[in-house]
């Protein structure tokens, strides 16, 4: 449907790009009319991330449930301000939803329109990662434009497994947060809201990300990782979180950021590779007792450990790497997940452009440059 407001907006934008001029804040609001039935956004908030053993063996902090609920409230307010009417959320019994209910009820009594309609996905609550899978699938099926994730690397990985092409926006509330950004949630909410309502071109709003795929025996068992696949000589899953560094032998990363903690920091401190760079990194490690090549790595909050480094090389996308290690444990994004023995063939492959994330920084820069929020509050879109 053609709408003259679109023309005005485009002209204004073009004008601003060509010639900086004083801003007239009383100018028409830059709203786009989108032909969609219900724009909605999904939220997956994990109530139990950051409650693992690293709270005891390292100095991991844990975000209280009430703080997580507050983060969700910030995101809700922000997406509502961008015109998103409906938010679909994963139900849980960890306390977030009951706090939200209380907060939203209070708002309703005050007749405030700061928040969108909040609905829970009609999925089971088992208190396990299955809830995340089920809820994410339900959100994808219902056509959400984006999914906001509150959790650590593990939670983001679970969502990414199921979200398909729906872009995700991460907010870190876990222990290991190599994947999601550390950012003010209100801003993440604004970026998601503006992107979801189509006010920001997809080429700006969304980034394509790499991921790692682990296949055991040609797919008999398989799983993914968003940041790192770590192979350890340890042989059992136990309490899942990985923190002992003396038995790490191989690490594959999608990106190697020296500014994050966790296993990927091993790669990041050897050869930084950004999220946008081609390929990843594959590092071979040794027992630090027997090698001279050592590296000091911030492996967990407050915990700087020593690893032994043998060598590293670029990890090319699309090419399966067979593991050197004959048996051990594979940790995905910092959590022990898969055991394998000498009878198993394990392959790790890097894929590019595998899933989408909301590029919050780019969205907000675009918003500022194009003055998308100049004007009256944005209308709710769709009925």
């Amino acid at each position: 449907m053609f709408d003259f407001r679109f023309v005005v907006w485009t002209l204004c934008t073009l004008t601003i790009k060509c010639k900086p001029s004083p801003v007239n804040l009383s100018s028409k609001q830059h709203s786009l009319s989108i032909n969609s039935s219900t724009i909605s956004v999904g939220i997956v908030a994990n109530p139990v991330s950051a409650r693992d053993i690293r709270r005891v063996i390292a100095n991991a902090t844990s975000l209280q449930v009430s703080d997580r609920a507050n983060i969700v409230m910030c995101v809700l307010a922000a997406v509502r301000a961008c015109g998103v009417k409906r938010v679909l959320m994963m139900p849980e019994n960890g306390g977030i939803r009951s706090l939200l209910k209380r907060g939203l009820q209070r708002e309703q009594k005050l007749c405030d329109n700061r928040f969108p309609e909040l609905e829970m996905t009609d999925t089971q609550i088992s208190g396990t990662v299955d809830d995340t899978f089920a809820a994410t699938q339900a959100m994808v099926d219902s056509g959400v434009k984006a999914i906001v994730v509150l959790g650590g690397d593990g939670t983001h990985r679970a969502v990414a497994k199921v979200c398909g092409q729906v872009p995700i926006a991460g907010i870190s509330t876990g222990t290991n947060n190599a994947f999601p950004e550390h950012r003010e949630p209100t801003i993440t909410g604004l970026a998601v809201g503006l992107a979801a309502t189509g006010r920001i071109p997809e080429s700006v709003a969304f980034t394509l990300n790499k991921l790692l795929c682990v296949k055991i025996n040609d797919g008999e068992r398989s799983d993914i990782a968003l940041v790192d696949v770590v192979v350890s000589t340890e042989r059992y899953i136990g309490a899942r979180a990985l923190w002992r560094t003396d038995n790490l032998r191989e690490i594959f990363v999608t990106f190697a950021d020296p500014e994050v903690i966790g296993m990927s920091a091993i790669a990041g401190l050897l050869e930084p590779v950004s999220r946008n760079d081609f390929g990843g990194l594959h590092v071979l490690l040794d027992d630090p007792e027997v090698t001279e090549n050592l590296l000091q790595v911030p492996i967990a909050p407050g915990l700087i450990s020593t690893v032994g480094v043998q060598s590293w090389q670029q990890l090319e996308p699309g090419i399966p790497f067979t593991l050197r290690q004959s048996s051990g444990i594979i940790a995905l994004d910092g959590e022990r997940e898969l055991e394998f023995g000498p009878e198993d063939t394990v392959q790790v492959t890097l894929y590019e452009k595998a899933f989408r994330t909301v590029n919050v920084g780019a969205c907000m820069r675009h918003t500022g440059q194009h003055r998308l929020l100049v004007g009256a509050p944005l209308e709710l879109l769709a009925t």
């Binding site: 053993i53 005891v56 063996i57 009951s98 899953i237 309490a239």
Partner: protein
């Protein structure tokens, strides 16, 4: 090929299996005997929760103390209390570990560091703080464990104990055995902030949540927490998320549970089944090893029941003994 990937030896793993199996068979048998009408009073069964008691107790030494809940049989067995003595106590016989004077809810053996099951929920937490205080004075790295249920974690005694343990830096570990139900009331309703870990932070100590039906997860997490306490790192809270197979007490029809819920958890979340699967898949123990163990356990339980049934009841003279050391 059976090289051992676990941080426990084959014999230790067999012992652990035996402990968990003993708890399971003990509780299942008590359930049967109770329904026959020979067991007086109240009984609260631990079946389904074995991985928690065993995963934690495997780290304990003789001089470490534990304060238990009303659901104490599992803690007793894992701490090494004599099974026959326990069965006799539950039947109220003179040969019981408490001479028939305590019963299931007060079952204890201080010689084994088991400071008692407690009929008052939450009452064990301050007692465990006391045991930890005494351990601190002994200065040998001993610790104390306070077991509470999800419901008792709302008691003032528990919350006060968290505070006291933190300010005195006591070597005590608070274990919240969260099986989702406080009697008939769901934990989701009863616990504000829905998180024991957040409560722990509120009282100045770290909290860790672990799957209480996974022996190895409990074992590893408990190991680190207990080591921290022994080394002067102070108290921590460990939440074991688990399930109980039976009702709050024997006779509880569990109408507050969803239909099929118990059958479902027995099928899908049985900690003994998952332990067996893990150790046999790794080739460390064989199915035959486990079955042989099962047989031994069943005959131990059988013996415990028959000797309990045959044992004498306490007599009138026993009524007045042990009120005081001397009066």
């Amino acid at each position: 090929m059976s090289d051992n990937p676990f941080p426990l030896s084959r014999d230790e793993l067999l012992n652990i299996y035996q402990t968990m199996r003993t708890i399971r068979e003990f509780e299942e048998r008590v359930h049967v005997e109770f329904s026959r009408g020979d067991i007086p009073g109240f009984v609260h069964l631990y079946a389904g929760e074995e991985a928690s008691a065993t995963g934690i107790m495997t780290h304990l030494r003789k001089d470490d103390r534990i304060a238990s809940t009303h659901r104490g049989h599992g803690h007793c067995i894992a701490k090494g209390v004599d099974v026959k003595g326990m069965m006799a106590e539950i039947f109220g016989k003179k040969t019981g570990v408490c001479g028939g004077k305590g019963g299931s809810m007060h079952i204890a053996d201080l010689d084994k560091g088991m400071m008692g099951a407690n009929g008052i929920l939450g009452a064990g937490a301050p007692l465990a703080c006391g045991a930890a205080l005494a351990a601190k004075y002994r200065d040998k790295g001993d610790i104390a464990i306070s077991f509470v249920g999800d419901g008792a974690s709302n008691q003032g005694t528990f919350l006060e104990s968290l505070n006291l343990a933190s300010i005195w830096n006591l070597p005590v570990v608070f274990v919240v055995e969260n099986n989702g139900y406080a009697e008939a009331t769901s934990v989701d309703w009863a616990v504000a902030c829905d998180s024991y870990v957040d409560r722990a932070s509120g009282f100045g100590m770290p909290g860790v949540t672990v799957d209480g039906t996974d022996f190895f997860a409990v074992y590893e997490a408990a190991g680190e927490i207990i080591r921290r306490a022994r080394e002067g790192g102070g108290p921590s809270l460990l939440e074991c998320k688990m399930i109980r197979f039976f009702g709050h007490f024997e006779g509880d029809m569990q109408t507050y549970r969803a239909e099929g819920e118990v059958d479902d958890i027995r099928a899908k979340r049985d900690c003994l089944k998952s332990f067996s699967k893990t150790v046999t898949a790794a080739g460390v123990l064989s199915q035959e090893d486990l079955e042989a163990c099962d047989m031994d356990v069943l005959s131990l339980i059988e013996e415990a029941v028959s000797s309990a049934l045959a044992a004498e009841l306490p007599i009138e003279a026993d009524l007045l003994t042990d009120v005081y050391v001397n009066y």
